[in-house]
């Protein structure tokens, strides 16, 4: 089953091609990492695929109505905005919005989804804390829990693990991996290629608005590709513990 299909997808803003000629599809059970240097178009790709900005070409998600889309895909923007000092429980419950009809209060199954999300993100003890008073990393985990509570087949997250401590970075990637093994799919953009190499089932490399590689981490993260796209030299080795990727130096 295809959760996202992009066909000849392109985004032009102010006469500049931000993204061009992207075709890809995401099926079930995948943890897709979107990698690329700053300004490569990672965020634009995800926002346009969701239909939040205008695009050319076809996106299966942008074609849905706003409400249907809310049940098919959860989106966690890069900007971690929590505007009001609401408690964590309330904030995570917002993830249930697309499942409620107008005026309807959250039902027991919505509460159950919220509990599962809080439990997954190790936030059960934070339930009654005020979200705006948490640390940046804790807020990021709360926002991931919000997206998880939406319980959609596809989760899209823009740099969800930036600013988390190493343990929570790994734990979050593992949660995404667990979702993938349950038959859902996760699409994340990230800059930590080491984590991308170890946890993602598939990597998509963007560079200057184009898709330059798409495949398993072993195929994509080659020394030559990394030198060309990221301008770094790196140590890459497939070990029994998984793929190890360590950037070493900038190519001059």
């Amino acid at each position: 089953m295809t959760l996202l299909a992009l066909q000849d997808f392109a985004v032009t803003r102010r006469g500049r091609d931000i993204l061009r000629n992207v075709s890809l599809s995401v099926g079930t059970g995948e943890l897709v990492g979107i990698i690329g240097p700053n300004g490569a178009g990672k965020t634009t790709l995800m926002r346009a695929a969701l239909g939040l900005i205008d695009s050319a070409g076809h996106s299966s998600l942008a074609a849905l109505s706003a409400r249907e889309r809310g049940r098919e895909v959860a989106w966690m923007p890069q900007q971690r905005e929590i505007a009001w000092p609401v408690d964590v429980q309330t904030l995570v419950t917002l993830g249930r919005t697309p499942h409620l009809s107008p005026g309807q209060r959250p039902k027991p199954e919505d509460q159950a989804a919220v509990d599962r999300a809080l439990d997954r993100m190790d936030l059960l003890s934070f339930r009654d804390r005020t979200a705006t008073r948490l640390s940046g990393g804790e807020q990021a985990r709360v926002l991931i829990a919000r997206a998880l509570a939406q319980e959609t087949p596809l989760l899209m997250a823009d740099e969800p693990i930036a600013g988390l401590d190493p343990a929570h970075q790994i734990a979050t990637m593992k949660i995404f991996g667990a979702l993938a093994s349950e038959g859902k799919s996760v699409m994340v953009s990230l800059h930590d290629l080491g984590l991308a190499a170890r946890h993602c089932t598939r990597l998509i490399v963007l560079d200057q608005g184009g898709l330059v590689a798409d495949g398993a981490p072993q195929e994509v993260l080659t020394a030559a590709r990394v030198r060309e796209t990221f301008a770094i030299n790196a140590f890459v080795q497939d070990t029994p513990d998984g793929l190890i990727f360590q950037p070493l130096d900038v190519v001059t």
Binding site: A66, E81, W84, P85, D87, L94, P102, R146
Partner: protein, 327 residues
């Protein structure tokens, strides 16, 4: 939450009855209420039905409208300092009223003043929409609103400046201070449908405003139609604030202070804050209108002056407290 609802509605009910009981005519509470409900043809009935009831009703409606519009505007802009006047409706409604006073329309045409004010509000909201576009960010809305407010204020000053006789200028200045004195049931009939309509529109925004806590992108991805939300917000605010300004003049600070004051009591949730602020606004305006009649009964103290006198220090205190909480 239900305790808050109970407390606020009891407060509003008590203030409403008090507002009916206070006035220059010496009338006992029970006697007055009896006359109000039972009717008859004595002077008490006239005082209660034609003077005090419309005044209390307007206080209730306009206070509620301003509180609701303030909460909706703050929720949409995700800014606790936003105010329903921000989109320029109250300024342009005031300009319409001032023009009616200046040209004599207010004196010659029945209901010329409130109708001119409503016309001004309509024109103002039209201009804001044309400037900001039906789609677009909250920032363009703020900028368009500030531009229209500034233009309306400048034109109002121009009218005052060119006013040929001091009495007209005096009348204009007093009108702009806002008041509920000497309003009739006709004023209630003008304002009520618009306030009701706008109130229903703003009241429907709760879910979307809640989702906006996470930002525009996340809210939109959760199925909230931001374009629609923005239009409903603009028209709803224009209806309630336009109607309120048309019959009562410019009354500031209610829409700013009340949501701020009640926010901690509803767990900061923008959706719940809507109805709470409607009740809170009604309570604040009824209380201020009672104070106007009790403190200086002989001097015609203006309602907008009292709300500003109470609101500004309260607001400063709230800002101070917010700063201490590091919010």
């Amino acid at each position: 939450m239900s305790r808050l609802a109970l407390g606020l509605s009891a407060l509003v009910a008590a203030l409403f009855v008090t507002a009916l009981a206070v006035g220059p005519a010496p009338l006992g509470i029970w006697h007055g209420l009896q006359a109000l409900i039972a009717g008859g043809d004595g002077p008490e009935v006239l005082v209660m039905r034609e003077i005090r009831l419309p005044r209390a009703l307007l206080g209730l409606m306009i206070g509620g409208a301003l509180g609701l519009a303030g909460a909706a505007m703050q929720g949409y802009l995700r800014n606790p300092l936003a105010d329903p006047g921000l989109i320029g409706v109250s300024g342009s409604a005031a300009l319409g009223a001032v023009l009616a006073l200046q040209t004599g329309l207010a004196a010659t045409v029945a209901l010329g003043l409130p109708l001119a004010a409503l016309g001004g509000a309509l024109l103002g909201v039209g201009l804001v929409l044309a400037l900001a576009g039906p789609r677009g960010s909250s920032l363009t809305l703020i900028l368009a609103g500030i531009a229209i407010s500034a233009l309306a204020a400048a034109l109002t000053s121009l009218v005052l400046n060119l006013s040929p006789n001091p009495f007209a200028a005096n009348e204009i200045v007093f009108w702009m201070m806002g008041s509920l004195a000497d309003r009739s049931m006709t004023h209630v009939a003008i304002a009520a449908p618009l306030i009701l309509l706008g109130g229903v529109m703003l009241g429907s925004l709760g879910r979307g405003l809640d989702a906006l806590t996470l930002g525009e992108d996340a809210a939109e991805a959760m199925g909230v139609n931001l374009t629609r939300l923005r239009l409903v917000l603009i028209f709803g605010t224009a209806a309630v604030v336009g109607a309120a300004t048309a019959v009562a003049g410019a009354i500031g600070f209610v829409g700013l202070v009340v949501p701020h004051l009640l926010r901690p009591l509803v767990g900061a949730r923008p959706g719940r804050l809507l109805w709470a602020s409607a009740f809170g606004g009604a309570a604040m305006l009824l209380a201020a209108d009672i104070a106007v009649r009790v403190i200086l009964p002989a001097r015609d103290l203006k309602l907008g002056v009292v709300t500003a006198l109470v609101g500004a220090p309260l607001f400063l205190h709230l800002i101070y407290r917010t700063r201490q909480e590091g919010l």
